[in-house]
């Protein structure tokens, strides 16, 4: 409830992105087949509700943009800069996560092996600064691998063997 508010300029960019999406939704709904050959009328056309929602979102995006402009968005223009050193934790966790789900799991590697690799890599990478500082890189790597194997086997057992849920 006490979240930090984004700057007016950030809201302006967000509003512009929303506007683009909303316009695309409205156009997509307008161009949708109205199925008149199936005796469909305006109120049964498949595009009715998406179209209404698209228009509503265009209106709200407009308010967001207007509010940002009135809040001084153009006086505080500051294009976002992605500096790896500032955002490495986010970039690395997102990249490793996507690689695990899209390539390791989806390409047929046994689930427990893929998960063990993912967990071990994540633990090792995110503990790397402290381990290097303490001169315990090898110990850290061993712990990460053992932890990864134990957790992935535990998940495998819990879902597949105990609760009979099929795994990827």
């Amino acid at each position: 409830m006490d979240d930090e508010k984004p700057s007016p300029f950030a809201d302006l960019l967000t509003g512009a992105a929303w506007l683009a999406v909303s316009v695309a939704i409205a156009i997509g709904a307008w161009n949708m087949d109205r199925l008149e050959r199936l005796a469909s009328t305006w109120h049964t056309a498949p595009g009715l509700v998406p179209g209404m929602l698209g228009v509503a979102l265009i209106f709200m995006s407009g308010i967001l943009i207007t509010r940002a402009l009135r809040g001084g968005a153009l006086q505080q223009i500051e294009l976002p800069r992605i500096v790896f050193a500032d955002h490495w934790r986010l970039i690395v966790s997102l990249s490793i996560g996507l690689f695990y789900a899209i390539f390791l799991v989806a390409r047929g590697l046994p689930f427990w092996v893929a998960s063990a690799i993912y967990i071990s890599v994540m633990v090792f990478v995110f503990q790397f600064p402290e381990r290097r500082e303490a001169g315990q890189l090898v110990r850290g790597a061993v712990i990460a691998v053992i932890y990864g194997i134990i957790m992935s086997l535990a998940i495998h057992y819990l879902f597949q063997d105990l609760f009979l849920v099929r795994l990827p």
Partner: protein, 507 residues
């Protein structure tokens, strides 16, 4: 009345098997730990448990989900008190007085208050669930397409208004959720909409993978992007609740329980609003206003009673209208549908026993949190000190499993990933997630009701505004929206103060 009591005891006895009790205790513990760990929410916990329990019979699966839900909402108070970090958004109000008490060396007393408040709140909500579900169910029988259209609209609008701190962004998230629900084949002609030739999209976006992404993967990213901080916990006194604290503030307990339950019934609003509203009401009515925020027993009691009373409250509209009262309740609704339980206006006619089963599940969950509240303080401190770098990768693996397990297709994993990234980006820009989820849940109801209503009236819009219940709901929706327009808000405030002054003079 007697029938209700008999139904409750019969349901309760039905759960008195070693397997059910083991499931209840295990899931309460899982919920308690999930709630206590900052970054893991009740919604995520219930969503992951939904996939774990997919092969179980409906009653046992729902027992596990409800125990997880109640446990997580209660567990959030532990980190709020000990770390000044709410374990779940529902416990944010508990930080104010809970942590102030902890800093005075009374963390044990604060945890005792949280335990008693949570248990009593659950019981008040549970009683409301038992009494109001049949009443609301009967009322819901009068609802037709026009009323359901406004109900769905009201849910999204009020959820957008009350969750987060920017109603405009809440509504945008809610309407985007409604749009997501339109993706796939439409209900009348099975015409593909926004599928872009992808066969998998024809069936639409499934709720559970979307929820696991928005609340699970997005949480993992949010936690991982911040560097971990050292957890320091002070020593504390006994955690056994003091009867004196409860008796002294019995009015606050009842008031907060009723407020929490009432807010739970409002679609999509949820426990955090319940806690803050109960806290604010307690402060207004208190004789010790100056103590609030500085370690007030009454303040902590109000927040904890309010958020836990909201849990059974949020289940009332799930059972009677198939409309969730909170984000975790949306997952519960999805789980009920997966397990073949059809909640809605006919539940008291077709399956009245199920309502009492749910009441019994709430009772069992409250006993579970009482048990763990009294016994698991020290092990929980160990859990709180466990590094996030070890927990979050495991949570992400569970997100992958969770999204895959429902339909056993990789497409749902991709949905989870997409919603995780979208959810993370939207959160960074201050868009709340609860209206988005509610939009996805209510989108189908809104569209079917609108089109069915228009077919019935042959395209005439008037019945949406002239039928009594529909008119009242339309006025509610319009009021919620218009009161956020500054000029209307000022005019309404002036008119209200004038009316109050005139009323005071007349009195």
């Amino acid at each position: 009345m007697l029938d209700g009591l008999l139904g409750f005891f019969s349901s309760l006895m039905g759960f008195m098997t070693p397997m059910s009790l083991a499931f209840a205790l295990g899931s309460c513990l899982a919920g308690f730990v999930i709630g206590a760990l900052p970054g893991l929410t009740a919604t995520m916990g219930v969503a992951l448990m939904t996939t774990l329990t997919i092969t179980l019979p409906a009653n046992q699966a729902l027992l596990i989900l409800i125990c997880t839900y109640v446990g997580a909402i209660y567990g959030g108070s532990r980190s709020a008190i000990l770390l000044n970090i709410p374990g779940t958004p529902a416990s944010a109000a508990s930080c104010l007085d809970g942590h102030a008490l902890a800093k005075r060396g009374e963390a044990g007393r604060a945890m005792g208050i949280a335990t008693s408040g949570s248990v009593l709140g659950t019981w008040i909500g549970m009683l409301a669930l038992a009494f109001f579900t049949p009443v609301l169910g009967e009322m819901a029988l009068k609802f037709g397409a026009y009323e359901f259209f406004w109900l769905a609209t009201f849910g999204v609008v009020i959820s957008g208004n009350l969750t987060g701190n920017d109603p405009l962004k809440g509504w945008m998230a809610g309407f985007f959720g409604l749009f997501i629900a339109t993706i796939g084949q439409d209900a009348l002609y099975a015409h593909n909409r926004f599928t872009f030739g992808f066969h998998d999209l024809s069936g639409g976006i499934s709720l559970v993978p979307a929820l696991v992404g928005a609340f699970g993967f997005a949480e993992v990213l949010t936690v991982m992007k911040e560097a971990p901080t050292a957890v320091k916990i002070n020593t504390f006194d006994t955690v056994i609740p003091r009867i004196k604290d409860v008796l002294q503030y019995w009015r606050t307990v009842i008031r907060s329980g009723l407020i929490g339950t009432g807010i739970g019934i409002i679609p999509g609003v949820g426990e955090d609003v319940a806690a803050w509203s109960s806290y604010a009401a307690a402060k207004r009515a208190s004789k010790e206003k100056e103590k609030f925020g500085k370690g007030s027993i009454e303040g902590l009691m109000a927040a904890e009673t309010g958020d836990n009373a909201c849990v059974p409250g949020a289940v009332i509209p799930v059972l009677t209208l198939a409309v969730p009262g909170s984000a975790p309740a949306a997952v519960l609704l999805a789980a009920m549908l997966i397990h073949g339980v059809n909640p809605g206006p006919l539940i008291m006619i077709e399956n009245p026993k199920f309502v009492y089963d749910v009441v019994a599940m709430m009772f069992i969950a409250s006993v579970g949190i009482l048990l763990y509240g009294l016994t698991l303080t020290r092990p929980l401190i160990w859990v709180l000190q466990f590094p996030k770098t070890l927990i979050m990768p495991v949570i992400f693996v569970l997100c992958v499993v969770g999204s895959y397990a429902i339909a056993q297709r990789m497409f749902d994993v991709y949905v989870m990933l997409a919603f995780g990234v979208i959810g993370f980006a939207l959160r960074q820009m201050n868009f709340p997630m609860a209206p988005l989820v509610l939009g996805i849940v209510l989108g189908d109801l809104l569209e079917k009701s609108l089109r069915r209503g228009l077919v019935l009236s042959d395209g005439d819009l008037l019945p949406f505004f002239t039928r009594p219940i529909a008119f009242v709901m339309f006025v509610l929706v319009a009021s919620v929206v218009l009161l956020n327009v500054p000029i209307v808000h000022r005019a309404a405030s002036t008119a209200w103060s004038g009316a109050m002054r005139a009323f005071g003079r007349a009195g």
